[in-house]
Amino acid sequence: MIKGSESVVMINSNDRITTPQTAIIVINFILGTGILTLPRTAAEQVKTPDVWLTVILGGIVTMIAGIIMVKLSRKFPGKTFYQYSKEITGKWLSKLISLLMIGYFLLLGGFHARSLAEVTGYLLLEGTPTWAIIMPFMWISLYLIRGGINSIARLFEIIFPITVILFLLVAFMSMKIFEIDNLRPVLGSGVLPVLKGVKTTALAFTGPEIMLIILAFMKEPHKAGKAVLVGITIPIFIYVITVVMVIGALSIDGVVIRTWPTLDLIRSFELTGLIFERFDSLLLVVWIMQMFASFTINHYAASLGLSQLFQKNIHPFMYGLLPVIYLISMIPKNINDVFKLGDVIGNIALVLFGFLPLLLLIISKVKGVKYETNL
């Protein structure tokens, strides 16, 4: 490690996360707005009941991208992307790429905050102004990230099992309106439609890019590949279950006309005789926790990026980014703009985390960048 100017932002040695924590951070970053809209966006592209296959393929594509990002970060132990990119591309270009990445995290954070406000404003808190929903959300996120990566990881460890258990419970409750015929025929129109939707579903898995940053914090960086694979496999399961259940209940034709198909699935049945008849609130609890998790990581990654770029303390950036993210979340004028923003972010991710890491990996191999191994 280079001493001196970097010592300000050097990663504190006891601020380390374990491999399972890394995987959980990736999972929580992936699961966000997509879970409510994925059945629709994917079905629009695929148009056959084979959407679940597309989801699996999309996941596999993301895995490849994730492994590339891990390979790249493994070359520079103990450094985040913001720090090591200049060793590959030179100072100015690296600053530009880092700024783009920070911009991406801010956009995604704003998008998540806005989606959260849209859904809660529609179903839970009708009449509560958007700012009153978003602001407390952001303040709590600020409180969490002030504690550093360790606090974030520990909170996510609590959120994760609750998410999985409640989600599975709610998903299987919807068996009541599930019709297997809506998922048949399998590959009735061949493989082509399935491939059409891969871009859409792969972008629903954006999240492994966080490895570019958190790999530096890992106790055992050599297990990063495993963490990212597990971190994508579990969302694949959750997404496949979601898509199968939603399309099984609403059919392909029915799903493309609904704004939030997953919410509709849960609102479309009642189970009498149990303690609860309705499960919308359970799904929303899970979803809001996941949104919070995604948002927190965005906020943290952007603040860390700025602090490492300007080599200043991270705290002022955390506070300073709050209004920025808020303003971004307020840019979309209506719900269509919100979805459009989501698409734009997806395309940015495609370039920044699909192609760029691979390019950097090739450059660093060719240049033979010197790095110390302490593994």
Binding site: E126, T128, I177, G188, I257, R267, S268
Partner: protein
């Protein structure tokens, strides 16, 4: 120094205490005692109630066409509190209120001009649409608002009524809420083949989107009572009602789809004309499409296992297999008749496919389906359909032989 610090600390604590207040989370709350819960809604052809006519004469009203009358069934706070009191007052436990206009949403809001406890719809259980209205307007347009709404859940069940829909939300029984009554009757599918699988709003929306024809449970009302009787046929292309299947035709349909959970087959012995009733324990049906060039045909295999639940036969003993086989044959014949009967209704009278033949074609011959789906109902009306029925009587209850 120390004092200012204390001041600052005091202010900080004070501010934090105030921050606790919004945690109560009652930003835009409405008291439950000030809400009426809507539990059912009925849509009819426009016919103003006496009160509405009076209002209009006295200069009320607004620009509207009297096309639709919607009747909302409410459980008002007054009603709810009076029925929970002991003593069981002999009064209705619901309130029906009608509005006439041309926009279901506007009519709903119009209620707020007539009541101090406005309607909220998160507990809507049933929606009944009258035949007259369903024949005149597309269902897609009628239910549009409810499918967009954030309170009105897509789990609300939808029915058709041959008479006035608002009558199905009336009841003479003290303490009974007609909407719940309707909602509960759907659970009886395990006892009869004359109840269709429930049709929540979301399924209705999906069915309309697929553009194929489908059935909706029909509700009749007479003398303050209600009954499920047959089903309305909704044409896929227009999403309007075009016809009607009676109870026996629904039996036949259940045999074709194999979706029945229970029920019976009543038949008469060929020789003696005496009654035999077969009770269904399970039914399965397999629809196999065959495509040869441009010719489509279907084979339907129907299988069922059940028991002899009633027999008026004066001779023969159920301990004897010959007797059971005879009963089986008689019941099979009856099922064949039911199937023929409903097929004929679908193919010749209405020219629609509501038994899911098209769906099976879509699943098993997707490429053919792509070709014929545009005009499927027309194509279906000329398609040959072969079927065979196999019933098995497993047992005959607690009594075997006669004399």
């Amino acid at each position: 120094m120390k004092q200012t610090f204390n001041h600052f600390q005091f202010l900080l604590v004070l501010f934090s205490v105030f921050l606790l207040l919004p945690l109560a989370g009652c930003w835009s709350s409405h008291e439950i005692e000030e809400q009426s819960f809507g539990v059912g809604v009925a849509y009819d052809k426009g016919k103003e109630s006496i009160a509405e006519k009076e209002f209009d004469e006295q200069g009320g009203g607004y620009t509207k066409k009297n096309l639709i009358t919607s009747t909302y069934q409410l459980i008002t706070p007054q009603v709810a509190s009076s029925t929970t009191k002991q003593g069981g007052s002999q009064q209705k436990s619901y309130v029906n209120i009608s509005e006439t206009g041309d926009s279901p949403f506007q009519m709903l809001r119009e209620l707020s001009l007539r009541s101090d406890t406005p309607l909220t719809s998160p507990h809507m259980k049933v929606m009944v649409i009258s035949e007259a209205l369903a024949r005149a307007y597309s269902l897609e347009q009628l239910v549009d608002q409810t499918l967009r709404d954030n309170d009105f859940r897509p789990s609300c069940l939808v029915f058709i009524s041959k008479g006035r829909a608002s009558d199905t939300l009336e009841s003479k029984t003290a303490g009974e809420i007609p909407a719940f009554h309707l909602y509960g009757m759907i659970d009886n599918t395990y006892r009869t083949t004359r109840i269709l699988p429930p049709m929540p709003l979301i399924k209705l929306a999906s069915k309309i989107q697929t553009g194929s024809s489908f059935l909706m449970q029909n509700v009749l009302s007479a003398n303050g009572e209600i009954k499920f009787a047959g089903a309305g046929i909704i044409k896929g292309k227009t999403s309007k009602m075009i016809g009607f299947l009676n109870e026996e035709e629904l039996d036949g349909l259940a045999w074709i789809t194999g979706k029945g959970k229970g029920g019976l087959v009543k038949s008469f012995d060929k020789k003696t004309g005496q009654l035999i009733v077969y009770e269904i324990e399970s039914m399965k049906s397999h629809i196999q499409p065959h495509v040869k060039g441009d010719n489509i045909s279907f084979d339907v295999h129907i299988e069922s296992v059940g028991r002899l639940s009633e027999s008026w036969m004066t001779s023969g003993s159920a301990f004897n297999n010959q007797f059971l086989q005879n009963a089986q044959k008689t019941s099979e014949k009856k099922v064949k008749y039911l199937v023929t009967n409903v097929l004929e209704k679908m193919q010749t009278k209405y020219k629609v496919d509501v038994a899911g033949f098209g769906n099976q074609l879509r699943i098993k011959q997707p490429r053919t389906w792509m070709r014929v789906k545009e005009n499927w109902d027309q194509t279906f009306s000329e398609v040959p359909i072969n079927y065979d029925v196999k019933l098995t009587i497993k047992d005959y209850g607690a009594s075997g032989s006669k004399k």
